[in-house]
Amino acid sequence: MSTTDKDNTGQDRRQYITFLATGQEFAADIMAIREIRGWTDTTALPHVPDYVRGVINLRGMVLPVIDLKARLGLGLTEATVKHVIIVVNSGERTIGLLVDAVSDILTVSQNEIQSVPDVMRETQNDYVEGIAVLDGRMVTLLGMTKLTSSFGGIENLIEHAA
């Protein structure tokens, strides 16, 4: 099933799941999301940046969990049972994204998406696909491919961290 369909104005519409982290609202394409589960304690990995919180057992798969807040440079999330791990599929990789809460499902047309302001590009461009403005809310759309390739390429990050 595709989440891309045409509305009556002929625009591409895609569904996003939105979630909260650091008080901001982010969104990811619903098709990239495999499941959403509660926080469980992770097993820490050595020699990784602090935003890699470690690994959990996802029904036999060893899943790395990345702290979105920490990834954005805003400090570690103090995870509680109310926190959520969004399991994201992208290409070959599957990773978990630690966020504060899941909030909504959005359907967004292409014309509702603004590109990232130039001044922000330096820091955000890696994984921000665009910004959606809906009913006065601003939602940052995360590009899962970019997100997981920058998060998932942990070995590169490890080298940077070392």
Partner: protein, 713 residues
């Protein structure tokens, strides 16, 4: 994959099995078990390989297989005695046939088979031409099928009478269903007869039932064939040689009847009539090969003999991924069950019916897990079976005489282990012959039989498989090994080594006792590589040797690579798994045994030898780990790279088999961590990679030195 390619792949797989069967039979023959069952098995194997090869146009392979088959056929029909000499040629021919298959599969290279071919031809020639009677499937090519109405009425057309006075034979040929099941084709046999002389063929349809009662798998036809101008009864019999067990056959001298009832003349080179007749009388078994395109007969031919070949256990081929998924799922089930039991028992206590039910469930799950793991296992036979050939070749190259004894080839191990066993075994066996065995003259002088024995055995021992390669050769000359090791600076001249330690020196990189590098041992692969392979498999290798009597290499390997024997250790708030294959011992160090070394290095005195001591907690930055090594348990490990090292951990939790879960696909490689596993409580524990840890140690030591230098500057 295009269907033709898929069929080819099936053919190659069949070939592998057939080659194994052939090799097995030939070795049985070598050991003097030349009963008809064995010879037939070998013959069938070669025949089937040839048949399939013909269908794919592997002409060179077919040509070779044909001569090979001819010789085997002579043996089968007791025209040639399988003496030692003959069997030796057959074994070589088997090797060549295997090469032909490899060349056909890879599409590159060529096989130097002329010598063997000549020998085979000589064997075949001794008792006349044995070939020519073979229904090669290649002959199917180019046949076309045109349905034609023929009159099946009560009165058969009267046959023209052939005026001929030469010797003639009457052949009554009534195939059984088995003949079709083995993909034989009456038409080809009759055509073969037609090549001998003019034939009159009369189909006997009297057994043909009503259409509704017709069983497609049964055989209803018989043929009466009159063959003229053929003096030689033997060549008539030869035509039917392949099908002798699968038909009623009578060959008698033909006396012209007063009034021939029904006969159709088939002139030489006009066999279509028969084809059409078979086709139109709706005999599916016979029709299929003739109507199919060039692919079909191959498939039929492959399936036929293989299926009928032996009363082997039935097997199916399954994609390994599917099995892996199953293994994984069952592993999860077991863990989930363990978690569930724990929770339920905590809340309700064991005295409830739920507790009993859980016990039952656990029992079943264990059984299920074992059964599922067993799917991945296969007998070591598949890798052992390649070794007799290796022994023959190596012995021939080194001018030695060697015999291979195999034991325990039915021992089952995980497929992944088997796949990776071939290389180290090959090397060890080569080594045993090249270095271990003496030349025949030397052996005789030493009072041994000229032929050396290499023994290869496998057995299960305590959840692991032990594979031994033993030879009755000269054994390890410890004085010489010691001398070499000193020359190469591997040990100190005054080192005091036990016999075992001296023997183990031969595993060191760059070590070779051979006075000169031969073309067998000089391939740049030493025993150090063998040991590396074995350790990569999670195994150990040991050697024991008696000078003058021989050496024995013992490999101890895990039954599967999916599971690892591990020591579970606690470090801070984390649990780690250390592969047991690396662990030498664990000890509680005294404060006085720990010495500061350099700025932040430590050495531990283990019975007089100082080994580097490293805190796992500090190395991996584990929170809450005790960095005071004198309060720790120390585990002495051995790594390929750096030798021995002492790892300090907080506590040893226990020893357990753990299921290995790779996470590289999701995370990438992390230095010092080999993989992960899931513990009984569902939590992930990391499996330490000792070599990586050591390397990490070195780097961090180097970094700290740089840092100090930078700070000092």
């Amino acid at each position: 994959m295009d269907p033709m390619e898929a069929i080819k792949q099936t053919y190659y797989q069949e070939c592998d099995e057939l080659l194994l069967a052939m090799e097995e039979g030939l070795i049985a023959m070598e050991n003097g078990e030349a009963d008809s069952e064995t010879i037939n098995a070998v013959f069938r194997a070669v025949h089937s390989i040839k048949g399939g090869g013909g269908a794919f146009g592997f002409d060179i392979l077919v040509e070779f297989a044909h001569i090979f088959e001819t010789v085997l056929d002579l043996i089968r029909s007791n025209q040639l005695t399988p003496t030692n000499e003959v069997v030796k040629v057959l074994l070589r021919a088997g090797d060549k046939l295997s090469d032909h298959v490899t060349v056909a599969r890879d599409g590159t290279g060529e096989v130097q088979d002329s010598e063997v071919k000549e020998e085979l031809a000589r064997l075949a020639g001794e008792d006349g031409e044995g070939g020519g009677s073979d229904p090669a499937p290649a002959d199917f090519e180019g046949l076309t099928f045109t349905p034609m109405m023929i009159d099946l009425g009560d009165e058969a057309p009267a046959a023209p009478v052939i005026e001929d006075a030469g010797p003639a034979w009457h052949v009554r040929f009534a195939p059984h269903a088995g003949l079709y099941a083995k993909a034989n084709e009456p038409y080809l046999l009759i055509r073969e007869l037609a090549a001998l002389g003019p034939v009159e063929v009369t189909p006997d349809l009297s057994n043909l039932p009503e259409l509704v009662a017709l069983e497609p798998e049964q055989a209803y036809f018989a043929w009466d064939i009159v063959l003229r101008d053929c003096a030689d009864k033997a060549s008539v019999e030869e035509v039917f040689e392949f099908v002798s067990g699968d038909c009623d056959l009578e060959i008698s001298e033909w006396v012209p009847p007063a009034a021939p009832v029904a006969a159709e003349v088939i002139a030489d080179g006009a066999p279509e009539v028969v084809v059409e007749e078979i086709a139109t009388t709706s005999e599916p078994q016979a029709v299929e090969p003739t109507v199919a395109n060039d692919r079909k007969p191959a498939a039929a031919n492959l399936a036929g003999p293989a299926a009928a070949a032996e009363t082997v256990k039935q097997t199916i081929r399954v994609d390994l991924d599917k099995v892996d998924r199953l293994v994984n799922l069952v592993g999860e089930l077991v863990i989930t069950q363990a978690m569930l039991s724990q929770r339920i028992l905590e809340t309700t206590g064991a005295q409830t019916t739920i507790g009993a039910g859980l016990g039952e469930l656990e029992h079943l799950l264990r059984e299920l897990q074992e059964a599922v793991m067993a799917i991945r296992t296969q007998p070591v036979k598949s890798v052992f079976q390649r070794m007799p050939r290796l022994v023959r070749e190596t012995a021939a190259q080194t001018g030695k005489e060697a015999r291979l004894e195999i034991e325990g080839e039915a021992t089952e191990v995980d497929k992944t282990v088997i796949e990776r066993l071939g290389e180290p075994l090959t090397h060890m066996i080569r080594n045993a012959i090249d270095h271990g065995l003496e030349t025949p003259e030397e052996r005789v002088a030493a009072g041994k039989p000229a032929e050396g024995t290499v023994k290869l055995s496998a057995e299960h021992r305590g959840g692991r498989i032990v594979i031994e390669v033993a030879d009755d050769g000269r054994g390890i000359n410890r004085a010489k090994v010691r001398q070499k090791a000193i020359e190469r600076g591997l040990i100190a001249p005054n080192a005091n080594l036990s016999d075992e330690e001296v023997d183990n020196l031969i595993f060191l990189p760059g070590f070779s006792t051979a006075a000169q590098v031969s073309n067998i041992s000089g391939r740049g692969v030493g025993l150090d590589v063998v040991r590396r392979n074995i350790i990569d498999l999670g195994g150990r290798i040991n050697i024991s040797s008696v000078y003058g009597k021989g050496s024995k290499f013992s490999l101890t390997l895990p039954l599967t690579l999916a599971v690892l024997d591990g020591m579970i250790v606690a470090v801070g708030n984390q649990t780690f798994v250390l592969p047991l294959s690396h662990i030498i011992e664990s000890l509680l160090p005294k404060r006085s045994d720990v010495k500061q070394f350099g700025s932040n290095g430590m050495l531990l005195n283990v019975r007089g030898v100082y080994v580097p001591l490293v805190s796992v907690g500090r190395l991996l930055g584990v929170q809450g780990a005790s960095y005071d090594v004198t309060n720790s348990v120390v585990i002495l490990v051995e790594s390929e790279g750096i030798g021995r090292m002492a790892l300090a951990v907080d506590a040893i939790v226990g020893q357990r088999q753990v299921v290995i879960k790779s996470f590289e696909a999701n995370i990438g490689h992390i230095q010092g961590i080999a993989a992960a596993t899931i513990l009984g409580d569902g939590r992930v524990a990391l499996i330490l990679d000792i070599d990586g840890l050591v390397a990490g140690c070195r780097e961090s030591a180097a970094r700290s030195i740089e840092y100090q230098q930078a700070a000092g500057a």
